[in-house]
Amino acid sequence: MAGFSIIDGLAVALPQDNIDTDQLIPARFMSVPRKDGYGPYLLHDLRFDAEGAPRPDMALNRHPEVSILVTRRNFGSGSSREAAVYALVDFGIKAVIAPSFGDIFASNAVNNGLLPARLPEERIEALIARLGDDAAVMTVDLSDGVIRVGNEVIPFDLDPVWRLKLLNGWDDIDMTASHGAAIAAFRAQRAQQAPYAMLPREN
């Protein structure tokens, strides 16, 4: 995964609380292999009516070229399904801006190069009012930690560990490989101190 420092793109508002991962991707699409792409399933039941026709009033249908979402609190709460992040990323979303995120979702997002940027509730409400039903050009600058829209420069919150990870495109498995010796030593100590923590192999 490549790192990045700037996202330039179109932003739209999804003015709802608690957009959970069941809504981001309904369970019935989750047996699809990743290589087939998850974009078509993003917020499927909000985007399409029961007959499968796109809802014209839905922001993502009006602006399919969007790359930044502005939304309300507790985005990505619920199920740990990383497919919710796959759906966003495959659709072309690069950043989600909200007052708060589900913890597991936010960490899944960072693992897939999707930026979960936090702003205070008042700032979010102001952005939602500014965007209305339209899309607007926005820049999210990861190096400086700010969002630029019109003449405004708004600082956002992001955990410093995640910031570095997104900037550098770090991969955890690669990073952990360099700690192999420490892990092996820890394992030996754990087996001694808490033998009940270990299990025999089945066969």
């Binding site: 619920g78 990383e82 990073m175 490989a177 820890f186 089945e202």
Partner: protein
């Protein structure tokens, strides 16, 4: 110098810390890694890199999310059959124990783990499922992770984490009759919000928590995630040890005595400081039901729905959208709302005690609406049948089926039809969770049974009076 005072969470976290990076990220050792059909993305990532599973013996697989609850011998839907086969093949390839479709130990991962004695105090437990918080009922540090993290645990038996803040929820007094751990959980989530505990590890404490059975503690810890918490924990005690003793994977003999001696130290030190403290009066909690599309939208069964016009900004929008989806009218009394069907099961409330309580309500009575009872595991099913609970359910007119996640998530095809209203013992009332357009009301299994008896959302207390 005195040792620093530590919480239960601090003790278990520190016992697993392999290293801490300068930026604060910690690498933690994972004692138990549970995988299910949904782990296919993670196994695919491993295959892409050609990596082996680091600790096959500490990885345990089980079929639950897609497990059919009927006609298991001929699975009609090809993608469901494929999901199950993929797990069984992936675990076999890597030498991982797997409780597959025909295994007598099959069940929902968070029911099976404790039942088998795989879940023990002081362990760090991960699973690619948010309700992994359930295992914290034993004083384990247990939390859900995403697919990239599952691949990382498979490859290294470790996980990178930032240390969460700590929060203690102390429940004083005692719960009223027919009020359960489920009502307690829905109560605190309604008080603090669905993101009220975000970024925190919760420890549940106080006399009400001490008085809960292991089943009740599991229900409480299970729902921690619905309040946004990273995990929930209860300090282990004699109730915990009595539950674990003699289970297949629990330590035995001299190992048992040594383990219990270690586990007794897993308590928060007197005077240890939590980042946040919340106190709840257990006596103030009534049987609770959700009315909206987030677990925070919960009310005592005796209450009336809010009026969105009296709320402000985003809250008003949320309440309006929820009522619209749920087909409810502002200000209406929640009790008496007609339901179309009921569901009893899931990792929240699919254990033997849950089934006993629901059966106590249903004994000698008929359900006015159809419903499904899916035990949390094959072992729970067998136990319930030995106790004759299955006959109480079927004589009431409900369907008694095999174990799995079933109608909690609908992946196996057990769905609520669009627009239908379901009284459910599960954990998520999200839009579309039980099927597109489905209307879910969360409540305790006793309350679900009461809804079955009257065909409406009902206060279970009079129905259980004199029966338990």
């Amino acid at each position: 110098m005195n040792a620093p005072l530590r919480t239960l969470f601090d003790k278990v976290w520190e016992a697993h810390q392999v290293l801490r990076r300068e930026d604060g990220a910690c690498l933690l050792w994972v004692d138990r890694h549970l995988v299910h059909e949904g782990s296919h993305h993670a196994f695919a990532k491993l295959a892409e890199r050609g990596l082996p599973v680091a600790e096959p013996a500490l990885t345990i697989g089980v079929v639950d999310h897609y497990a059919p609850t009927r006609n298991r011998d001929r699975i009609a839907a090809p993608d469901i059959a494929r999901m199950i086969r993929t797990l069984e093949e992936n675990t076999a390839r890597h030498g991982i124990r797997c409780f597959g479709m025909r295994d007598p130990r099959q069940g929902i991962v968070h029911v099976m783990g404790p039942e088998q004695g795989l879940t023990l105090p002081g362990l760090l437990i991960n699973c690619g499922d948010s309700h992994t918080s359930t295992h914290g009922a034993f004083g384990a540090l247990a939390f859900g992770i995403g697919a990239t993290e599952v691949a990382h645990v498979l490859a290294t038996q470790t996980i990178w984490q930032k240390r969460p803040k700590t929060m203690r929820i102390t429940v004083t007094g005692q719960l009223g009759p027919s009020v359960t751990a489920k009502d307690l959980a829905l109560f605190w989530i309604a008080e603090l919000g669905a993101d009220g505990a975000r970024g925190h590890a919760i420890e549940y404490a106080g006399p009400v928590v001490r008085a809960l059975s292991m089943e009740g503690r599991m229900t409480l810890c299970n729902l921690s995630i619905e309040g946004g918490a990273r995990c929930g924990m209860v300090a282990p005690d004699d109730v915990t040890f009595a539950y674990i003793k003699g289970r297949p994977f629990a330590p035995a003999g001299a190992d048992w005595d040594r383990a219990v001696a270690d586990w007794r130290a897993l308590v928060s030190d007197e005077g240890a400081v939590f980042d946040r403290e919340v106190t709840i009066d257990g006596a103030a909690i009534a049987p609770t039901v959700t009315w909206g599309t987030s677990p925070e939208e919960a009310l005592p069964i005796t209450a009336s729905l809010p009026d969105p016009d009296k709320l402000e900004g985003a809250r008003a929008d949320q309440a309006r959208a929820a009522m619209d989806y749920m087909g409810l009218t502002p200000g209406q009394r929640i009790e008496g709302t007609p339901v179309d069907q009921v569901f009893i099961g899931s990792c929240t409330n699919g254990r033997i005690e849950d089934l006993r309580l629901a059966a106590a309500v249903l004994a000698g009575r008929k359900a006015k609406v159809p419903g499904l009872v899916s035990p949390g595991s094959a072992i729970v099913k067998k136990q319930a049948e030995q106790e004759g609970l299955d006959r109480i359910f079927t004589q009431a007119g409900l369907d008694w089926v095999e174990a799995g996640c079933s109608m909690c998530v609908g992946m196996n095809g057990d769905l609520v039809a669009p627009g239908k209203r379901c009284a459910s013992s599960t954990n998520r009332n999200f839009k579309g969770r039980q099927g597109r357009g489905a209307r879910t009301h969360l409540m305790s299994p006793a309350m679900v049974a009461a809804a079955a008896v009257t065909g409406t959302l009902t206060d279970v207390r009079p129905l259980l009076d004199g029966r338990v």
